[in-house]
Subunit: 351 residues, 4 copies
Amino acid sequence: MIVVMKNGASDEQIRGVVDRVRELGLKPHVIMGTERTVVAAIGNKRDEHRQSLESCPGVAEIIPILAPYKVASLEVRPERTVVRVGPLVLGNSHVGVIAGPCSVENEEQTLATARAVKVSGAAALRGGAFKPRTSPYSFQGLKEDGLKILAAARDETDLPVVTEVITPSDVEIVAKYADVLQIGARNMQNYRLLEEAGQAGKPVLLKRGPAASAEELLLAAEYVLNAGNHEVILCERGIRTFETHTRFTLSLATVVWLHERTHLPVIVDPSHGTGHSVLVGRMAAAAVAAGADGLIIEVHPTPERAMSDGYQSLTFQQFGEMMALCRRIADAVGRTIEPAWQSRSNPAAAV
Amino acid sequence: MIVVMKNGASDEQIRGVVDRVRELGLKPHVIMGTERTVVAAIGNKRDEHRQSLESCPGVAEIIPILAPYKVASLEVRPERTVVRVGPLVLGNSHVGVIAGPCSVENEEQTLATARAVKVSGAAALRGGAFKPRTSPYSFQGLKEDGLKILAAARDETDLPVVTEVITPSDVEIVAKYADVLQIGARNMQNYRLLEEAGQAGKPVLLKRGPAASAEELLLAAEYVLNAGNHEVILCERGIRTFETHTRFTLSLATVVWLHERTHLPVIVDPSHGTGHSVLVGRMAAAAVAAGADGLIIEVHPTPERAMSDGYQSLTFQQFGEMMALCRRIADAVGRTIEPAWQSRSNPAAAV
Amino acid sequence: MIVVMKNGASDEQIRGVVDRVRELGLKPHVIMGTERTVVAAIGNKRDEHRQSLESCPGVAEIIPILAPYKVASLEVRPERTVVRVGPLVLGNSHVGVIAGPCSVENEEQTLATARAVKVSGAAALRGGAFKPRTSPYSFQGLKEDGLKILAAARDETDLPVVTEVITPSDVEIVAKYADVLQIGARNMQNYRLLEEAGQAGKPVLLKRGPAASAEELLLAAEYVLNAGNHEVILCERGIRTFETHTRFTLSLATVVWLHERTHLPVIVDPSHGTGHSVLVGRMAAAAVAAGADGLIIEVHPTPERAMSDGYQSLTFQQFGEMMALCRRIADAVGRTIEPAWQSRSNPAAAV
Amino acid sequence: MIVVMKNGASDEQIRGVVDRVRELGLKPHVIMGTERTVVAAIGNKRDEHRQSLESCPGVAEIIPILAPYKVASLEVRPERTVVRVGPLVLGNSHVGVIAGPCSVENEEQTLATARAVKVSGAAALRGGAFKPRTSPYSFQGLKEDGLKILAAARDETDLPVVTEVITPSDVEIVAKYADVLQIGARNMQNYRLLEEAGQAGKPVLLKRGPAASAEELLLAAEYVLNAGNHEVILCERGIRTFETHTRFTLSLATVVWLHERTHLPVIVDPSHGTGHSVLVGRMAAAAVAAGADGLIIEVHPTPERAMSDGYQSLTFQQFGEMMALCRRIADAVGRTIEPAWQSRSNPAAAV
């Protein structure tokens, strides 16, 4: 931490800061510049509590030096975390694709989608049973009935199920049916939910909040990691910016940035990240080129009749075309997008 | 809802949209423009489900016309909601000031602060017992012990207590001690929490999320209102923008915009909204000039030693100066900032 | 400048940085932390060139310590700059109000507006003759004819004229008629224009760009100041954010922040800053409460017929009401909004 | 254009809007909804002037339907524009790569870079001679001397020269040496410069401003197109958002969106778009996957000694690796990244 003193700070003010730094268990180091004095505070604590030093007389600014996250850091754990759930592998040379409807609407819609995405090469099924909706007047999901439909689709297709949990008290029921617990963007900083999900014994897919920095995403992951769960999958799904031609601004550079700093796998959601189906395929390809470890994609038999997010859902055909494009990109970057089906030579055969 | 067709959309595509609009229970109305055809869909449903029409062949764009919120709307309920909790009155000519420490750290700190803010004219005490923290390594609050300290401070000063609840299962315990339940910015779209808090029988102070539009804030309020609780207080506390000299960008125009659209009281949090104590006083004054129904302010006996948010907390003296300034501004806009103490001529006497 | 080394940077890499810092004419100072080494580079150069150090092997990050602006800084010149142009005074206890139409459309409209705003207490007339328009199909202004109309309005009302110049080669003609040269938000980083305007011998009103940080605004002001012109007026007019209910997000905290760092006067434009006439009056009041040295307001005889910006223009009556409100706020913060008419007891008499 | 009336608007107010719409030369069409009345105004004018209707009594909102740009639109001109400048081809199956130093510093640096980027497959040389700098204390470029160095590099390598022009009066001198005129992000809305550049008879590379919407970029292009120049190259280079781990947020979805709406070629600048050399290669690859027609990349012999932008410049080796990666991605999407050298079988031979 660097404490920058105001221009003209008095000796007494500098001494005050030095004393306070010592009280905090850190070692102060004073540097007199030509215009300003700075006090470097040496030590390995990350507690943001220390930013209160900004209120000391004569202080202009506090600049943290250490990244605030630890367990998620590549410096702490240099080998990459690989999450494996049946055919879905995230974090090594595989590119794992999770696909399915925004909401589970009924068994027919869900099973048809599961079969179709499997044929095209998806490694897992997504689908929402508990839906966090901006408006209380929107469809809120089928809840446990939806979970049962997802489980039925898994039984038939062997695709593991990724589904969202939106409140701590639902973790148990969702974990009973799901293979991967998804924490949605709105809940990235719902800390009790992160802790609860971290104790459920299932991998956690953590989506970046629309106003969250990449660093805050890593800190949210620390909540899950600290609960003893090391299988955390990060997901870039767009941030909120002034641009309105896309629903969010998908920041693929964040994928590269995260890979430089964390050992956790990073996937991309171009469906929410763009909000328009016509943009999804190309952005999926771009994500694979940027080095994403996986994709999560909304697919629906008839998007114009979807009960949620139809505007950003792909048809089966569009999803197939997207997969063909992504397969070529994966090859170009030395990766494979094929699911890790153990003993089957032809995944489509399982359908 | 207006469905804008693509330039060159075929008659068949237009017919397809017209049929789909009818299926949704709306009345279609086709307008042939010189360059584009649009289909107006008439009816009073607000279900966002209908945006899936964007996926119909030939459709360029869907433009909603009706505001998506209802119960919160000034059009539905033209008289303003006034929330009264003892001396705290929000929504009429009063400007209610809620003040206190970011976190309850111990009894001495909390009581000293309660006494000081009361003397300066605050009408309620704020203080965090359950703290949502970006980092798991930061101080997480005293929990129920903190609530007890707040209750003790209320017993002594008669100031009602405003405190945050961060997860549905804590609503009961928090509501046992608190007079107003605060939903923090990170939880604005934690819908189960909104519903639970809406059933607790206490007014709810709902903070705008840092990436939430003003319209989404109203939709979040609808969750509480729909749970049967009509005492919702909205709070502008800054949004996340590219500007970093303030921690958030406090949007006072949002206060005016909200007053044009909703009957709910709107207060402002210049502490979080600026993130630097030196900016708080002036922005509090600006908020009152903009027509805010109240303020919520962080105050600490020794900000440089605060366990959280010290950089944005006012000292007792700074708070007193802020109140003096705000009192003059309140007069200028025809309002009063004095708490509504029932039977006491001199509020300070109660200390 | 602080050079933060990567965790595990080698001694050789640290030596490389130390050498490079010396080459740049700065004094290196190495601090070995518990997790990272940082190299403080001491000296008073502000050249951003040095950020290229980020490319040195082993470097994680460069953190500048010195503010990049100089002449605009309150540390360099502690007394406030006061700009006086006839009755318009900006930078002391006056609050100077500049008002008029977005575009000069014809003599009648401009004179009627000039008379009306003077009666209500404006100290200067604004009006656009050269209009920068987002679309080439929009009205581009009357050019020199517009300047002549403005000059005629000044002759009649004695209100000094504030008008925009949009390209360096127009500075001469605009300066011939105008009393204050306005640099619009789109041109804040049009450096040749800043330099040219800086040499015209007239005060320069510099608007903040919609994506410019407050620090970049000060750096743009340095271009004018460096051209030898010390009469620079800064103007906050809103930044671009995700929020769309206002055209821009007016950041009044920036006014307070600027007053902490620069001696230059700071005014506010709530017309562009909100984009809706219904929000202007209250935000003007809030700006005065926040300490703004002045206001710039769009006024039009019949806003619904304005050739530009009608949606954000006030009628004469609305402007009068706004001034009455701002007068009370100015009193409350110990300032006066009355123009500094030298020898006239009643400014309205001049009309 | 759709005029949305307020709930409860009177018949007289609706008639007022209808009359005003007719006066503007448009055909009104009234639709009475269940909660609101809207007036559709039919006609093909795009003048934003009409937004002043928002000020008519009883009006809630104005919603434009027609895109405000015309000549740039794919609806107006369905075949794609291909810009050819020697080996550089943008807009067909080629992916044209423009590379070189941020600033021309001296002949040696520029020539060495030109040779190196040619060997790796660049089709054009970039380099700044007139530099727009945030700070007046930063290096401002070698001006005409820089242009001469660029011309010398072209003479030797046959690479066409892309260089920035920052003010209208420099267009002539820059056009004398340059093959493509670049308009930088800060000048995207410098309309006199756009007009002047549009008349210089050279292709114009137009960068998106950091706060400009994609629609505003197209409107800026209309200024150039309207000046009679149809060779406009659009460039996505990142927008300003709350995220600070990258200097800007590169929005690759904008490339796809633009390709859906305009016939103009769209290239990507991952150097400015990320601001850190470690992120450039992967984002270049992602841009090609997203369908970009070209790339513009900063390359420097020794980035840590660059006089500007060293932190985001690639070394020769890094550029070579980036090109190898992009070549594989181009193959995967059915395009070629090889320059269109006419009569040479081996481009490197020319060095």
